[in-house]
């Protein structure tokens, strides 16, 4: 398989201006999605997953948000230099997004049709010239694609008249109506109960397989990641700390944070309560120096307090941002590394 990058993010830094200072949330994010690849993104609440995604689509509320530095390339073009007009065409057909909470992502005072039809109409210059009837047909098809019954009637319904599961299906239908090359799914189903969540995710899985879209799937549920993604990114406090093929990260997590994360998953066999990681995500107003994980890290060394680790390639396609795996720095970290790997 040739690995052609579709989306590349380099050293993305995003802050938020708040009363009392600036929150430095994204601290140099590096992130790559290849064509046709399904990438998972996991991390604690508040670690910057959604912020990264909103920065990609340039829908971050600014102010209070602002991009300090970094490059976001889609098909090799720097999205931050692209004009608003062009960006509009990249949104929708190029990149589209399913939001976390379908209730908040649907406008409460417009019908499903009033919201879905413009999505189709403005997807491309050709679509803009389509007659209303054709657009309506496409809207009905988009709802049918997400297995919603009676789409004609649904077009006339308001979001408040639908169940949570139906709303999420509508959101998925809207995001896929433009046939995006890259679909960002931000915790789809988190707000739904487990059975409905499972149905919705299965549906999503099937739809993206059919269309061969690239996907970024953000989730807290590691089981879903294992089923749906080829590669996984682990994020902590505004940094990508580890990436590897999904299977490998589950069997051989390298970063102390990833190890803790995997440890925190309750298992059916083996018994016992999950351990979790002591401490909590840092204060973004005064983030820790060096590696942001060091206050919580059981293997923290002096260098971790002073320098920020970059990605070290441990094995093919397995990268980790941790000094434990720095082979160039010499003897002092080697024992610790051995211990960590043991």
């Amino acid at each position: 398989m040739t690995r052609q990058p579709l989306l590349e993010i380099e050293n993305l830094r995003v802050g938020f201006k708040v009363y009392g200072g600036e929150l430095h949330v994204l601290d140099g994010v590096d992130f790559v999605v290849n064509k046709g690849e399904k990438v998972g993104l996991v991390g604690e609440t508040g670690c910057g997953k959604t912020t990264t995604m909103k920065a990609i689509l340039r829908i971050l509320p600014q102010p209070p948000g602002f991009i300090e530095s970094g490059v976001i390339r889609f098909h090799g073009r720097d999205l931050m230099q692209v004009k608003d007009r062009e960006m509009r065409h990249i949104r929708g057909q190029g990149i589209s997004m399913i939001f976390q909470d379908p209730t908040a992502a649907l406008n409460p005072v417009f019908t499903i049709g009033q919201q879905l039809e413009p999505v189709i109409k403005y997807a491309s210059p050709e679509n803009r010239r389509l007659p209303r009837k054709v657009i309506r047909q496409k809207a009905i098809q988009a709802l049918r694609d997400v297995s919603l019954a009676d789409p004609e009637r649904l077009l006339k319904a308001y979001p408040v008249q639908l169940s949570g599961g139906m709303r999420q299906r509508v959101c998925i239908g809207m995001a896929l109506a433009t046939n995006p090359e890259l679909l960002i799914a931000d915790e789809p189903g988190t707000s739904l109960d487990v059975t409905i969540q499972d149905q919705v995710l299965r549906l999503l899985h099937q739809l993206v397989e059919e269309r061969d879209s690239s996907v970024i799937l953000i989730t807290h549920t590691l089981g879903i990641v294992r089923q749906m993604t080829d590669r996984l990114y682990v994020m902590y406090a505004g940094n990508m700390v580890e990436t590897a093929p999904t299977r490998r990260i589950f069997t051989n997590p390298l970063h102390p944070y990833t190890q803790g994360l995997m440890d925190a998953v309750p298992k059916l066999t083996g018994g016992g309560v999950a351990h979790g990681i002591p401490g909590r995500i840092p204060d973004y107003l005064h983030p820790p120096t060096g590696c942001r994980f060091h206050p919580r890290c059981p293997h923290a060394m002096d260098i971790c307090r002073q320098k920020k680790p970059s990605f070290y390639t441990v094995e093919e396609a397995h990268q980790v941002a941790c000094f434990l795996y720095d082979t160039s720095s010499g003897a002092d970290s080697a024992p610790a590394r051995k211990e960590a790997l043991a």
């Binding site: 689509l57 509320p61 929708g92 976390q100 649907l106 409460p108 403005y122 959101c171 809207m174």
Partner: protein
């Protein structure tokens, strides 16, 4: 939607509100010092005449019985004779009411049009120069009473610049169009008298503007607040993420949900302008209901006071019903809720 049952329900509620109001009015009128019979016939009438009148007016009966006599007359549109104009109060109301209504409606047009426009501009350019200017001006508008604006406009545009007339509804040398609706502008248009129409319109400008300033400022503030709040909602981010043009997102997906609180305020402002216009009507010698009501209060003209209060009560009820219908039409969540409670 189910509009007729909704109106029916509200009208049914209105009956009880008006009955309550009528009891209050009646009690106030009877509690006020002074013998209504003596007031009616004058200080120099002999005692036997007063006694006759007393029997005629059922003043010898118990208060409850008196109330029903009063209510019966009021329901027949008979509010008695005004002590000031020496005419039927109902006749006075028919004459003065349209003048106030025309003024309040014109003020509504000005305040809603300008208020929403300014609020929208302010939200779009949040924290920029336009926004700061609008905010300062709207603070001034909210804290300045309408009579200050009235005097200011009168002096500036009336006496100094001579742009607009300052007295009454029509110039003395302009022939009054035949009364159909009681609205000078509409009546002159119906009569095809463009000279009278322009003259009536010019007479409206200053008092309506003075009356509109406060509500305009209020409406601008509310529109700005709800718009800048909704601007950060997920459904706006989602519409942008789907590639819908910014103008469409702003002018439709943002404007409609943001106008709902403004419309409630517009209704309240309109009803308030109707009843609080007395100083403006006094300054511009506008023959309206507020001025009539104030004169009635100053001269203890009980019949007129009762009728004016009752008319204002009806205005408030009707305005509230209109506001509720409009809001329910705009916001399906509200519309459904009221339908469900039936």
């Amino acid at each position: 939607m189910k509009l007729l049952p909704f109106i029916g329900k509200r009208a049914f509620h209105a009956i009880f509100v008006l009955l309550g109001l009528s009891i209050v009015i009646f009690v106030i009128a009877r509690v006020m010092p002074g013998d209504p019979a003596r007031v009616a016939v004058g200080a120099h009438a002999p005692d036997w005449v007063v006694q006759d009148i007393r029997e005629q007016m059922h003043l010898d009966e118990p208060l409850v019985v008196q109330y029903f006599y009063w209510l019966r007359d009021a329901l027949h549109g008979d509010f008695g004779v005004s002590l000031v104009t020496r005419r039927d109060v109902a006749q006075d109301i028919i004459e003065f009411f349209p003048a106030s209504l025309e003024l309040a409606l014109f003020a509504l047009l000005i305040s809603a049009g300008l208020g929403i426009t300014l609020g929208t501009l302010s939200a779009w350019h949040k924290d920029k120069f336009v926004d700061n200017l609008v905010r300062v001006l709207s603070y001034m508008g909210v804290v300045t009473p309408s009579f200050v604006f009235a005097i200011l406009f009168l002096l500036l545009f009336g006496y100094l610049l001579h742009w607009f007339p300052t007295l009454g509804r029509l110039s003395e040398d302009v022939a009054r169009p035949p009364t159909v609706t009681g609205f000078m502008t509409v009546d002159s248009l119906l009569a095809g008298d463009m000279v009278a129409f322009w003259d009536a319109l010019k007479h409206l400008v200053l008092p309506a503007l003075a009356l509109a300033m406060g509500s305009m400022a209020q409406e601008a503030r509310i529109t700005r607040a709800s718009m800048s709040e909704n601007l950060n909602k997920d459904y706006i981010a989602a519409s942008r993420a789907f590639g819908i043009p910014e103008r469409y997102v702003m002018g439709r997906f943002l404007l409609k949900p943001s106008l709902i609180p403004t419309i409630s305020i517009i209704g309240l402002d309109f009803a308030a302008n109707f009843s609080n216009a007395f100083l403006v009507e006094l300054i511009f010698v506008w023959p309206g209901l507020s001025r009539y009501g104030m004169n009635a209060i100053l001269r203890k003209d009980l019949n007129a006071i009762s009728a004016v209060i009752l008319v204002l009560g009806v205005v408030f009820i009707i305005v509230n019903i209109i506001v509720d219908i409009t809001v329910a039409k705009l916001d399906p969540r509200i519309g459904l809720r009221s339908a469900r409670s039936e």
